[in-house]
Subunit: 384 residues, 2 copies
């Protein structure tokens, strides 16, 4: 499982002392080749953390030897010193993994914005992590990147003789473009950087980019895909892309299932839209409606709030042709009252909302969470 | 105060039995002339309640004799029957106020979406309200339009010999274009419909349209301005518009102060923006950031969440030139750490966030609320 499911990778997760709690907070993932191809997708937030600015540059070369990830601090909004700290992190990893340059080391950070990282702890931590590198280190790496996550997240897929594996963290600031998360995927398939990039962008577009837990976009989102080629197998692009998609979808679903303070996972499917963009726009508008999120928390099939959310979009539809189902009961038909809302059973964690725009053949699925007092508590009681 | 502060108006607020609680739920405001000029601004939600569709048509004539307002049901997403019910409401009011046609009667409704109104109670209620009409009825009318409002809202302003007064309701679904609210303003100034319209649009653009309590846009928002001309005075347009602005700003501020479950009123001022549109876009992005709203609730000056919200916009700015103050302490300077966050005192209900984009000379103020467990409770424990 995790980032060491694929051959050619070693990983470690250790406690460097960045977190006051003493919990694991530093992960190292190393690609031992023979290939070191890589692709990356980063937050579209214009306020980008130092490690995002750094890793975007590293990825332009299409080669990554190792990724250093830390929890316990986002290194965002930290100015020139923050960027220097990221640079020093990459330099240190290059030095420890002899024979490589800092320009091949990606860095990812997560935690509170606006605080400098304790480099006196982080840099020795890299030495400690390098000493702990193992072909079985994937789980520990996944644990070390957790912040408010209650569980670590890993997934694996693949084909005949080759594997795609990955790990993810993210529990708040989960919204499109991307979610607040760090994800590292690895594969031993023999795939070059441009093909990795195509597969990764296709996969994130319909998985991580369609997770909208709380409408808040992070400064640190990073999704990396590294290929070692160690299996010696070069799968067809479609087959490879499908495996990447499977792992991304699995991890994205796990992120929603562990979102801060959530009690419901909401699967919003918009159908019969004129365009896929319309379907996504409507799905996101529903996903972000706080009143609806509260209603779902209260197990109230309040379809009026769905319609009022749809009405704020520019998508093609006629109000009197809209249909809405909650858990397959069509509580709204033709823009008005439909089946009896008392038929809707909302006791289970997963809730399905289907919005039929009656305007075409396109569709999209957005995943969201409910809004709870626990979410408020978790995000107001202390800085995160 | 309220809608009867201006001469030429009578009003009433009674309990028609629409609300199960037996609380007042029907208001009637009548313009006794001599002039019956009117202007209106309505929700920009594309899913519009029947009374909005009706009143938009009525307002095209530029004349309104009376407004019937009910709480206890929004008459939204109610199909052809809902529209017939609004029509019947106007017909009944025209019949009771002899000598007028239904085409001069505006209707506004607020409450749960997707339920037909109990017309067997509403229509007799109009007779009861007409019998109770009084030059002192403004307060009772303001009380009758409350839903989850804890207090009724009225305001008054004016000039030498003329007055603008008004009432408002709205406590949830408060967001631009417009907020979830019903507002009726009256004046005895002698102003024609086109001038009323200009003054009202100017005023709502920078008051009600800049209130964003919870990011949720209503299907029923209605703001009406009626002029009786009963003072015989025709003020200069600028003077009149300023009075309308004053009353709208006063009522908008009251809406924020009474928003569902809120414990903080957040005044977000975006300064040094390249354009006013940029300032508004950034202000709204900050206003709608759930993580920031939670932090403000927790009295945590978490400026990183302000920056991450700014970063999601298309406004002109450079990340390393952004400055943010919370209650006048510049906790973020040049995109990084600024003054000591421990200097920020957030004990009081009103919290001021200043975002300096360092990109121009334009500015805008958006009002928002914090996100609390009480908001979640109020909107999940029962349908509204």
């Amino acid at each position: 499982m995790s980032v060491t499911a694929a051959k050619g990778f070693t990983a470690a997760g250790i406690a460097a002392g960045i977190k006051d709690s003493g919990n694991p907070d530093l992960a190292l993932v190393v690609n031992n080749g023979p290939r070191r191809a890589a692709a990356g997708v980063f937050t579209s937030n214009r306020v980008k953390a130092a490690p995002v600015l750094w890793s975007e540059q590293v990825l332009k070369g299409g080669e990554v030897t190792a990724v250093v990830l830390n929890s316990g601090g986002a290194n965002a909004c930290t100015g020139p010193q923050g960027f220097q700290d990221t640079h020093a992190t990459a330099e240190k990893a290059a030095e420890v993994l002899t024979g490589h340059s800092a320009g091949e080391i990606a860095v990812a950070s997560t935690g509170l914005i606006g605080l400098l990282l304790p480099m006196d702890k982080l840099l020795p931590g890299i030495e400690k992590a390098a000493a702990a590198l193992s072909e079985h280190g994937g789980e520990k790496a996944a644990i070390a990147i957790k912040t408010t996550d209650t569980v670590h997240k890993t997934a694996v897929a693949g084909g005949d003789g080759w594997t795609v594996g990955g790990m993810a963290k993210g529990a708040g600031m989960l919204a499109p473009g991307l979610a607040t998360m760090l994800v590292v995927l690895t594969t031993d398939a023999d795939v070059e950087a441009s093909a990795l990039d195509a597969a990764l962008r296709d996969a994130t577009r319909t998985t991580f980019d369609r997770v909208d837990s709380d409408g808040c976009m992070s400064t640190n989102d990073t999704v990396l895909l590294l290929a070692s080629g160690a299996s010696g197998i070069a799968p067809a692009q479609a087959e490879f892309a499908a495996a990447v998609q499977t792992v991304c979808a699995d991890l994205a679903r796990q992120l929603i299932g562990d979102a801060e303070g959530s009690s419901k996972d909401i699967r919003i499917e918009v159908v019969n839209a004129a365009t896929e963009d319309d379907a996504v726009e409507v799905g996101r508008s529903i996903a972000r409606n706080n009143l609806l999120k509260c209603a779902i928390h209260g197990e109230d099939p309040n379809w009026g709030r769905v319609l009022s959310a749809i009405g704020t979009t520019k998508a093609a539809f006629e109000p009197d042709r809209l249909n809405v189902a909650i858990n397959d009961v069509w509580v709204c038909k033709s823009g008005g009252v439909g089946e009896d809302r008392d038929l809707v059973d909302m006791r289970y964690r997963e809730v399905k909302i289907t919005a039929d725009l009656a305007a075409g053949d396109e569709s999209a699925v957005i995943w969201a969470n409910d809004l709870t007092a626990e979410y408020v508590h978790e995000n107001s009681a202390y800085s995160s």
